[in-house]
C-alpha cells in the first residue's frame, strides 16, 4: 500500500510549458494562406491577368461605346479593280484599260486605326469591341458551368462520402458511366439538334455548357468524396460525433470548410479548362454563332479566307492571345492557391 500511496503525492497543477507571449499574434489559417499566395510572383501575375480580363470584358464595353457587338461599320469602302486587255486588230495593238470602282457598304478588313483600335474583320465588325464581348460570353459561361459543377459535385460527392454504403456505390457508378461518355461526339449531336430546333443563337452556348456540366461534375464529386472519406476518420470528426452535433452541423461546419481549399483550387483550374472548352466549341462553330462574338469563332474566321491568315494578323491573333491569357491566368491562380493552401508548406 505504501508504494501506491507514494505515487499519489500530487504536484500542483500548473502549465509549465512556456506560453506564447500575450502580444505575439500568430496569423489565422486564412491569413497565412493569403500571405503565402501573394509571396509567389506567378500567382500575382495570374491574378493580374484574370482581373484585367474581367475589367476588359465587363467594364470595357461600358467605357468604349464607339461600336457595338453586332454593329457593322457601314462607312463604306471603295475597291478599285484595274484590268488591262490587249487586242490586236489588223497589226495594230490596242490596250483597253478598265478601272472598276466598286463601292461596298461595309468597311471590312480595315487596318488598325484610331477609329477601329484593332481594325475590322471580314464582315466589318470592330475587332476590339468583339474581343470584349467574346470575353464576356467566355467568362460568364465558364463561371456558370464551374459553379454548377461545384454545386453538383459537392452535394453528390458529399452524400457519397458522408453516408457511404449503397448510396456511395450508386453515385460512384453513375460517375463511372458519365466518365465513359465521349464529350465531343455527343456535343456534335446536341449541336445538330439545337440547329434543327429554333433556339436563339445567343442561348445555345448555355445549353451546351449545361450538358458539359452534366458530364463534368464527376471529377469534383470524386474529389469531395475522397476528402470527406479521409476527414471523417479524423479524430475531431469523432469528437463532433461524441459531442452530439447534428448531421447538418457536422457536414456544413466541420466537413465542408475543410474541403474548401481543395475545392477552390479545383474550381480555378477547371475555369481555365472550361474557357478552353468554350473556345473549342465556338471554333468548331458549335457554340456561339454569328453574329454574336466569341473568341473561338473569331479565330475561326481564318478558315474562310487564306488571305486573312497571312495578311490580316489583327483579325485573329488578339482572340488567341485573349484565350491564352485567360487560361494561363486561371491556371497560375489555381497553382498559386494550391501551393498556398498546402499545409505542409510552412513558410
Amino acid at each position: 500500500m505504501d508504494e501506491l500511496n507514494n505515487v499519489q503525492a500530487e504536484p500542483e497543477v500548473v502549465d509549465t510549458e512556456v506560453p506564447l507571449d500575450k502580444n505575439v499574434r500568430l496569423m489565422s489559417p486564412t491569413r497565412m494562406v493569403v500571405r503565402r499566395f501573394f509571396r509567389s510572383k506567378l500567382s500575382i501575375l495570374g491574378l493580374i491577368m484574370v482581373i484585367s480580363l474581367f475589367l476588359f470584358s465587363f467594364v470595357g464595353p461600358l467605357i468604349y461605346t464607339e461600336w457595338g457587338e453586332i454593329e457593322l461599320d457601314e462607312s463604306g469602302k471603295t475597291e478599285y479593280a484595274i484590268s488591262e486587255t490587249t487586242y490586236t486588230v489588223g497589226g495594230q495593238e490596242y490596250t483597253v484599260r478598265q478601272t472598276t470602282e466598286k463601292y461596298l457598304k461595309d468597311n471590312f478588313l480595315a487596318p488598325a486605326s484610331a477609329e477601329h483600335l484593332l481594325g475590322t474583320d471580314n464582315e466589318g465588325y470592330d475587332i476590339f469591341v468583339r474581343l470584349m464581348y467574346g470575353g464576356r460570353i467566355s467568362l460568364t459561361v465558364s463561371f456558370i458551368a464551374v459553379f454548377l459543377i461545384t454545386i453538383l459535385g459537392v452535394i453528390l460527392g458529399g452524400i457519397a462520402g458522408y453516408f457511404g454504403g449503397w448510396i456511395d456505390n450508386l453515385i460512384m457508378r453513375v460517375c463511372d458511366v458519365l466518365m465513359c461518355l465521349p464529350g465531343v461526339p455527343i456535343l456534335l449531336i446536341i449541336s445538330t439538334i439545337l440547329d434543327a430546333s429554333d433556339i436563339d443563337a445567343k442561348y445555345r452556348i448555355y445549353l451546351l455548357m449545361i450538358y458539359l456540366t452534366f458530364i463534368s461534375w464527376t471529377g469534383t464529386a470524386r474529389l469531395v468524396r475522397g476528402q470527406i472519406l479521409s476527414l471523417r476518420e479524423q479524430e475531431y470528426m469523432v469528437a463532433a460525433e461524441a459531442m452530439g452535433y447534428s448531421t447538418s452541423r457536422k457536414i456544413f461546419k466541420h466537413l465542408i470548410p475543410n474541403v474548401m481549399p481543395q475545392l477552390i483550387v479545383q474550381m480555378s483550374l477547371s475555369l481555365g479548362s472550361m474557357i478552353l472548352y468554350e473556345a473549342t466549341l465556338s471554333y468548331l462553330n458549335l457554340g456561339v454563332k454569328a453574329p454574336y462574338a466569341a473568341w473561338g469563332s473569331m479565330i475561326n474566321i481564318i478558315s474562310t479566307n487564306q488571305d486573312i491568315l497571312q495578311n490580316h494578323l489583327n483579325v485573329w491573333v488578339p482572340a488567341g492571345v485573349c484565350i491564352v491569357i485567360a487560361v494561363l491566368g486561371f491556371n497560375f491562380v489555381g497553382d498559386g492557391l494550391r501551393d498556398a493552401l498546402d499545409p505542409k508548406a510552412r513558410r
Binding site: 500500500m1 502549465d15 469523432v238
Partner: protein
Amino acid sequence: MADTKENVTPVYDDAALAAEYQAKRQAQIEEDFKEPFDPECILEVRHLRKCFPIKKTITGKVTRELVAVDDVSFKLKAGETLGIVGESGCGKTTTGRAILKLHQPTGGQIIFDGKDITNFDSKQMRDIRKEMQIIFQDPYSSLPPRDTVGGILSEPVEVHNIVPKDKVKDYVLELMDKCGLRDYYFERYPHEFSGGQRQRICIARALSVNPKLVICDEPVSALDVSIQAQIINLLKKLQREMNLAYVFISHDLSVVKFISDKILVMYLGAVMEFGSKEDIFKNPLHPYTKALFSAVPNPDPTAKTERIKLEGDIPSPANPPKGCRFHTRCPYAKEVCKHVTPEYKQYGEGHFAACHLLDEA
C-alpha cells in the same frame, strides 16, 4: 494408479466444447440481462461485444468477422476511475468507443445513469451525449484546424444550451482557467499550441458540457513524460471538483496505477482480469497480468525484479486461438488451456479473472 491417470491425455472435442461454451455463455448473458440496474453505478457494461466485418458477400452478408471486443463486463461508480490496460490491438479503444456508441455494439448491454442506451438511436443519443465525453490520444488531429480555441470550446456549450447565450464567453473563460489555459488563448488557433496545451484544450472541450463520464482514450501517451504528469494531475483535480467517472484507457501501467481505482486487463478483445487497483497490483492472479506488471520499469535500480518474458507475437484478432486466448504465449499453459475457454469467475471481493490455473490451485 495415479501415474497412469496423469499420462493419459484427455481427448478434447473442440467443436463440442465450443458449442457447449457458447450455450453456457448465452444462458449466462440472458440471466445477467434480467438483473436490475445497479443504481449506485453511473456506468454498467454487461457482456459487451463488438465485431467488425472483414469479408462480405455482394448481398452484404458477413462471411468473416473480427471480434474486437468479446464479453467485457464491469461496473463504475460516479467519481471512480476504471483503468483499461492491454497491448495495442487488444480492443481497449474499441471498448471505449462502443461505450459511447461511436461504434454500435454487436451484443451486450450498456447501462448509463440508469438507462439502457444500447439500442438508443442517434437522436436519442444526441440528448445523452453531453453526459458522456471522450478525450483522444492524439491532440493534433482531435482539434478542428480552422477554428479558434474559443470557437472550439463555445460550440458545444451553445449546441447543448449549457448556459444562456450571453454568458457563453464567461463560462468558457472560466473553464479554460480551470484547465490551466490562459484567457488570451481564446482567440488563438490550435496549431499555435504544443501537445500538452492542445490536450488541455481537448479536456476543456470534453468538460464544457458538464459530463458525468469521460472516456480517456490514451490521453497522455502522445505527450512528454513531464507533460504527462501535468495532464494526469489536471484530470485528477477535475475529477475531484466535478465528481467525474473516468474510463482511463492506457498501455502505460504506471499511469494507470496512479489514476485508477479499478483495473481491467484485456488481451485480444477479452477480459483477463478485473479488480481493484490494490488487488491487481498486489495480488495479480492471471499469468498475463503478472507478465504485464513484471515489464514495468522499476525506478529503483538496486531492486531485483523477476521478469516474465512472453514469447511470440500477439495472435491476430481475426483468428483468435481456441480455448484460452492467451495459451499461445502463456508460460504455464497446459493441455486444457488449448481447448477449453476458461470461465470468468470471481476470486475474492470484486476480483475477477479467467484462467484455468486458478481453479487447480
